[in-house]
């Protein structure tokens, strides 16, 4: 079992010294941004032109759904949000610190990415995980 939390997804990086961040891969030929490591660009087809980039911790809400029915054991309701990060990259995650009501959610609202424990979820070996969440950028964290 790991002493420190593991990343919930491969594109969440936890440096030994420093803050966690989301990592994208950017095509140096066409500038398309992807989540996670990859060798080839699926936008332009270039090979071996992908470079790791640190994605921004700020962005805007593009679209969402308010999830009321999910699989057993998953707390509902929650907001499933799609966020366009400043500088490129689109990420999906839970939008927190907003009431799950359509009236409280605005397209284009400024969002910040925050990092926290993965809702207490552990794997079969008992490892804890670190995940990322979205919240309105004016919310007190």
């Amino acid at each position: 079992m790991s002493d420190s939390p593991l990343p919930a997804v491969d594109y969440l990086k936890i440096p030994d010294d420093g803050d966690p961040y989301l990592e994208g891969y950017k095509c140096s030929s066409c500038e398309a941004v992807f989540l996670g490591e990859r060798a080839n660009c699926s936008k332009c087809g270039e090979r071996d032109q992908m470079e790791a980039v640190t994605l921004a911790n700020s962005g805007t809400l593009y679209a969402y759904s308010i999830v009321h029915r999910s699989f057993p054991g998953i707390d509902v309701p929650y907001i499933s949000a799609i966020v366009d990060l400043d500088g490129g990259g689109t990420v999906k995650g839970n939008l927190i610190n907003v009431d799950p009501e359509p009236e409280k959610i605005e397209f284009g609202m400024p969002i910040e990415v925050v990092y926290d424990d993965a809702l207490g979820r552990k794997d079969g070996e008992g490892n804890s995980y670190l995940s990322y969440f979205f919240q309105p950028s004016n919310a007190a964290s």
């Binding site: 679209a63 969402y64 699989f71 799609i82 839970n94 359509p102 794997d123």
Partner: protein, 381 residues
């Protein structure tokens, strides 16, 4: 190249058949379609089978084990919710290419109940409800909310799609449900993923549909032209790169490209289409496809549902079968069931739900991942 015609087509009434096997369910539709054409399995030169749940299970061959092992070539097809349309298209292509004069396409599915999809892979911990939602109702809710963002489409407008399609299905004895669902019933149903309530989600059902495709020469030779339906266009696309691809499956671009190619192949425009069976896996999705298929201008879809233009009796009726929302959505069968519905109208045999004077019809499916299949059909003259 020869023209290709549907000379026999049918579907079983969709429902839940836990006591039957997938090949048994598929065999029923194959028999119905053969009977509709007056031909037998011995007349078929190849079989194209669409099924997802047992994609590695040689379902096409097992259907022949139910209805006649004639030794013909069998191709088993899997392409998400475009599976049935892909099998139909492969059958069409073989006739167009001159390989065969008479072939059968069968789509069949036996479904479980409940939510399809879910976020993230199996490694580590579950991502569902942690990194948003990957359930199908949520994915298509988000696609609908993109439309709401762009054009101000409302929850009520999305809900009206379900009111319409459930109403249509009251006139379709082969639909899973024949129940009126007024607007307040749809909007007050259990919320699954806003803005999709339970009545705005397609029904998981078992079902099958089949079609017999003939070359023009063979159809004439057999005297089958009087009820034949000409396949004016068959198009399949995959999803071109889009910047939000990785978190937001794009059902729009592949549909727009398929529609443009289909209209070009048919030498027709959207204005020539008399009825449409499109992929209303969720009420939110149907709204997007009015625009994607060119039935209205961008931003006009909400008005189109408000004005009743897509209801039976309207300018271009959409999903008069009841659609996936009410007829049901047995994934591998859906694409061929759409062909059955449109063909039935073109033949003037749709009874109470008949689109009067229908001459040209369009079918559309989307398989998430993504595949888009479009067919344009015309009553043979």
């Amino acid at each position: 190249m020869t023209d290709a015609y549907v000379v026999g087509v049918d579907m079983i009434k969709f429902g839940r058949f836990p006591d039957k096997t997938v090949p048994q369910i598929g065999a029923e539709a194959a028999h119905l379609a053969l009977d509709d054409s007056g031909l037998t399995i011995q007349d078929m030169e190849a079989l194209y089978c669409g099924n997802l749940g047992q994609a590695s299970g040689m379902v096409g061959q097992r259907i022949l084990q139910e209805i006649g092992q004639t030794g013909i070539p069998v191709v088993n097809v899997s392409n998400a919710c475009a599976t049935g349309a892909t099998a139909f298209r492969e059958a069409w292509a073989s006739v167009k290419a001159g390989l065969y004069d008479l072939v059968i396409a069968v789509g069949v599915e036996q479904m479980g109940r409940g939510l399809l999809g879910g976020a993230g892979g199996s490694k580590g911990i579950s991502k569902e409800g942690l990194l948003g939602s990957g359930t199908m109702p949520s994915v298509f809710a988000e696609a609908g909310m993109e439309h709401a963002r762009n054009y101000g489409t409302t929850f009520e407008q999305f809900a009206k799609v379900s009111v319409k399609n459930h109403h249509h299905s009251t006139m379709n004895p082969k639909a899973m449900y024949q129940i009126e669902t007024p607007l307040e019933t749809v909007m007050n149903a259990e919320m699954i993923s806003y803005p999709n309530t339970k009545l705005m989600c397609s029904v998981n059902v078992d079902g099958s549909a089949a079609a017999i495709i003939a070359s023009e020469k063979k159809a004439k030779e057999l005297g089958l032209m009087s009820r034949a339906v000409k396949i004016r266009a068959s198009i399949l696309t995959s999803d071109p790169w889009q910047e939000r691809d990785l978190v937001m499956p794009d059902v729009n671009t592949c549909t727009r490209r398929a529609a443009a190619a289909a209209y070009e192949m048919a030498g027709l425009g959207a204005e020539d289409v008399d009825l449409v069976e499109l992929h209303d896996c969720f009420a939110t999705a149907e709204i997007l496809h009015y625009e994607n298929l060119g039935l209205c201008d961008d931003g006009e879809a909400g008005r189109m549902i408000d004005d009743g233009e897509v209801a039976l009796g309207g300018k271009v009726p959409v999903n008069v079968s009841g659609g996936l929302l009410s007829k049901g959505h047995p994934l591998g069968a859906t694409g061929i069931a759409n062909i059955y519905e449109v063909s039935t109208h073109l033949r003037g045999e749709a009874g109470q739900r008949q689109v009067e004077g229908a001459r040209i019809g369009l079918t559309h499916v989307i398989g998430l991942g993504s595949a888009c299949g479009i067919h344009i059909l015309e009553k043979a003259s």
